[in-house]
C-alpha cells in the first residue's frame, strides 16, 4: 500500500499519486462549499472560494499554506467569528452560525487580557461557560487542572507582561482547553516562539491530545510541525479565492518522537510532499 495517500479536490493536476480511498470515519465537522467575500474599498475581495473539508472526531488537522492565503479566515469561519458568504459549516449535525465555547480558539498572538493574571484569564472563560454547572470549588480545581496540563502551575498568579512568549501561549492553550471544546482551533499557536520552546509545546500538545482525544484544527507555517502533529495536512492554494489544494494523510504511529522520526524515511517522504506542494506547485508569484 502506498504510504502517501492523496485525496484531491481538484481533479486536474498529477493523477498518478491518487489512490482514491473512502473515509470510513463518520464526518464530525463538515465544511461545504465555503466561500467568503470581504467588502473592501476596491469592491468585494474573494478570499476563499469553495473550500470543502471533512473532519472526523478526534482527528488532528493542520492547515498549511502561504502567508495571506486565507488560513485564518477558514479558522474564523469554523469558529463562527466570520460568516461564510456562501456554503457553511456543520458541526456534529448542527450548523455553525455564531461563536461559542464548543469551538475554542487559540489566537495567533495569544490574546491574553493583560490586566488579568494567568489564573484570571482562564477563570473569566470558565466562569462564563460553567456558571451554573460547577461550584466555586470545582471551578477553581478545573482552572488549576488546565493550567497544570500546560505546565503553568508555577506562574499562575503572574500577569501576562511578566511571563515569556511561550508561557503566554501555554496560558492561551489552557484557556481554550478549559472550555471543554469539541473542536480546538489553533491559529499558528507556536508561530512566534523559538525552536526549543516550540518543540516543548508541540510535545505538550501531542500529549494533551492523546489524553483528551480532541478534534483539533491547527494552522501552521512549519512543515515539520505539520507532519509531526497531524493526522491530515490540508494544503491551501494561494489567494485570492484560495481553496483546498491537496490533503495529505499522515499515517505515522503515535506516540511520535521527533528524534526517532528525523531519520524515518516515511516521515521525510511526507515532508517532501508538503514542501513540493508549497514551493513547486504553489510557488508565490512574487518569490
Amino acid at each position: 500500500m502506498s504510504v502517501v495517500q492523496m485525496m484531491k479536490t481538484e481533479p486536474s493536476v498529477d493523477e498518478t499519486k491518487v489512490t482514491k480511498e473512502e473515509d470510513f470515519q463518520p464526518t464530525f465537522l463538515d465544511l461545504t462549499g465555503v466561500s467568503i467575500e470581504f467588502p473592501t474599498k476596491k469592491g468585494a475581495f474573494k478570499a476563499l472560494d469553495n473550500v470543502n473539508l471533512k473532519i472526523a472526531k478526534g482527528e488532528f488537522i493542520s492547515i498549511i499554506g502561504h502567508s495571506g492565503c486565507g488560513k485564518s479566515t477558514v479558522l474564523n469561519i469554523v469558529a463562527g467569528l466570520y460568516k461564510a458568504t456562501t456554503g457553511g459549516v456543520i458541526l456534529n449535525g448542527k450548523e455553525v452560525d455564531e461563536p461559542g465555547p464548543d469551538r475554542a480558539v487559540v489566537f495567533q498572538n495569544h490574546s491574553l487580557l493583560p490586566w488579568l493574571t494567568c489564573y484570571q484569564n482562564v477563570e473569566i472563560a470558565v466562569k462564563a461557560i460553567f456558571k451554573k454547572k460547577k461550584t466555586k470549588r470545582e471551578m477553581k480545581e478545573w482552572i488549576e487542572h488546565n493550567l497544570h496540563l500546560v505546565h503553568m502551575d508555577h506562574a499562575m498568579h503572574k500577569y501576562p507582561a511578566e511571563i515569556s512568549g511561550g508561557m503566554k501561549q501555554r496560558v492561551g492553550i489552557a484557556r481554550a482547553l478549559a472550555m471543554e471544546p469539541t473542536v480546538l482551533l489553533m491559529d499558528e499557536p507556536f508561530g512566534a516562539l523559538d525552536a526549543l520552546t516550540r518543540a516543548h509545546l508541540q510535545d505538550s500538545v501531542m500529549e494533551i491530545q492523546s489524553d483528551l482525544n480532541n478534534t483539533v484544527i491547527m494552522i501552521t507555517h512549519d512543515v515539520d510541525e505539520a507532519v509531526l502533529l497531524s493526522d491530515k495536512i490540508v494544503m491551501m492554494t494561494n489567494g485570492p479565492a484560495a481553496s483546498v489544494g491537496e490533503i495529505l494523510k499522515v499515517e505515522l504511529e503515535r506516540p511520535r518522537n521527533r528524534l526517532e522520526l528525523a531519520n524515518d524515511p516515511q516521515y521525510n517522504k511526507y515532508r517532501a510532499e508538503v514542501l513540493k506542494f508549497l514551493y513547486e506547485r504553489q510557488r508565490r508569484p512574487q518569490e
Partner: protein, 339 residues
C-alpha cells in the same frame, strides 16, 4: 523591603527618591551619588538659576504699584497670607465661643429661651479660596467624567452613534468655556431656585463651566480607545459568549483604561485652568477671585500676593496631574503609562 519601597516610589512618580533610598542602604555609593546629582541636583540648579534671574529682573520693572516683587517679597507675602489665615481662624473660633457662652447664659436664665445660632461670616482667606477652587474643580471634573465616559464607551462600540454625535463634539470642543459662562450663569439663576440651596449658585456655575470643557478630551479618548481595542480581545469575549454588559465591563473598559485616563488627565488640567479664569470673570469664590480682588485692591502688597497665587495655581495643577498619573498607574494594567 527595599525593592518594595523603590517600586512604590516609582509607582507614585517619586522616582527621583530612588537613588537616595539606594544610597541609604549603601548600594554602590558612587553611582548613586552621580544619579542623585542628575535627578535632584540639576533640577535644583535650574530652580536656583530661575530665582536668581527673577530677583534680578523684578527689581528693574517699576509699576504703578511699585517694584515687581522678587522671590523674597513673595516669600514674605506667603507668610503674611498664612498669618492672616491663622488670625481669621482664631477670630472665628472666638466668635463661636462667644455665641455659645451667650446662648448658655440665656438658657441658664430661661430654659425655654429661643437661642440663635449664627454662622460666622468672616472674610475668605487665601487658603479658604484654595479649598473652594479645589472642591469646584473636582465637582465639575467628576460630573464631566460621569457624562463623558459612558457616552465615549457607547460611541466606541457603535460607529453609527459616533458618526451621529461627532459633528456636535467637533463644534463644541473648540468653544472656550468662558464663552459659555454668561449662558451658564443665566441658566443657573433661572433654573436653580430654592429657598435653602444646598450649594451656592456661584459654585454651581463654576462647576458646570469646568464640566463643559473637561468633557471633550475624556469623551474623545474613551471613544477612540474603545473603538481601537485589539479585535482578538473582543473575539475572546465572543467565543466564551459573554453577555454584552459583561463584555463592556470586563473587556472593553479595562482594555481602554490607559487611554481613558490620559483623557481624564487632560480634562482635569484644562478644567483647572478654566476654573481660575471663570472665577476671575464671574467673581465666583476661589483662587481666581482672590487674584482679581487683589488686582482691584491695588495696594503695595497686591502684586506679591498675586504672585503667590500664581505659584500656588501652578503647584496645585502639578499636584492634580501627579494625582491622576498615580491613580492611572495603580488602576490600569499599563504600568508604563504616561510621562
Amino acid at each position: 523591603m527595599k525593592t518594595k519601597i523603590i517600586n512604590t516610589l516609582e509607582m507614585t512618580g517619586l522616582s527621583w527618591m530612588v537613588p537616595v533610598v539606594r544610597l541609604s542602604t549603601g548600594e554602590n555609593p558612587r553611582e548613586q551619588l552621580s544619579e542623585i546629582m542628575t535627578v535632584i541636583g540639576l533640577p535644583l540648579l535650574a530652580i536656583a538659576a530661575f530665582l536668581f534671574l527673577w530677583a534680578g529682573a523684578a527689581s528693574q520693572v517699576k509699576t504703578s504699584l511699585g517694584e515687581l516683587p522678587g522671590p523674597s517679597q513673595v516669600w514674605e507675602q506667603t507668610q503674611g497670607l498664612y498669618e492672616e489665615h491663622v488670625a481669621e481662624r482664631e477670630k472665628e473660633e472666638a466668635f463661636y465661643e462667644r455665641q455659645e457662652e451667650r446662648n448658655a447664659k440665656k438658657l441658664a436664665i430661661n430654659p425655654d429661651a429661643e437661642i440663635k445660632v449664627r454662622e460666622y461670616t468672616g472674610r475668605d482667606t487665601f487658603f479658604d479660596q484654595i479649598w473652594t477652587s479645589l472642591g469646584t474643580v473636582f465637582t465639575g471634573f467628576l460630573i464631566g467624567a460621569l457624562i463623558a465616559i459612558p457616552i465615549g464607551v457607547a460611541c466606541g462600540l457603535s460607529d453609527k452613534l459616533y458618526g451621529a454625535i461627532s459633528p456636535l463634539v467637533q463644534i463644541f470642543k473648540p468653544v472656550s468655556p468662558l464663552a459659555w459662562l454668561p449662558i451658564v450663569t443665566m441658566v443657573v439663576s433661572a433654573v436653580y431656585i430654592s429657598d435653602d440651596p444646598m450649594f451656592e449658585k456661584s459654585f454651581i456655575t463654576s462647576a458646570i463651566t469646568v464640566t463643559l470643557c473637561s468633557l471633550w478630551p475624556t469623551l474623545i479618548n474613551t471613544a477612540v480607545a474603545v473603538a481601537s481595542i485589539d479585535k482578538d480581545l473582543i473575539n475572546v469575549g465572543r467565543v466564551i459568549r459573554l453577555h454584552w454588559v459583561t463584555q463592556v465591563f470586563k473587556i472593553a473598559i479595562p482594555a481602554s483604561l490607559p487611554m481613558i485616563f490620559t483623557g481624564l488627565r487632560i480634562s482635569l488640567g484644562i478644567g483647572w485652568m478654566v476654573l481660575i479664569a471663570a472665577e476671575m470673570l464671574a467673581q465666583n469664590p476661589g483662587l481666581g477671585k482672590f487674584v482679581w480682588d487683589e488686582f482691584q485692591n491695588g495696594s503695595s502688597d497686591s502684586l506679591g500676593r498675586i504672585m503667590v497665587a500664581v505659584l500656588a495655581i501652578g503647584l496645585i495643577g502639578f499636584l492634580l496631574d501627579w494625582l491622576m498619573l498615580t491613580l492611572q498607574k495603580v488602576l490600569s494594567h499599563d504600568k508604563n503609562a504616561g510621562r
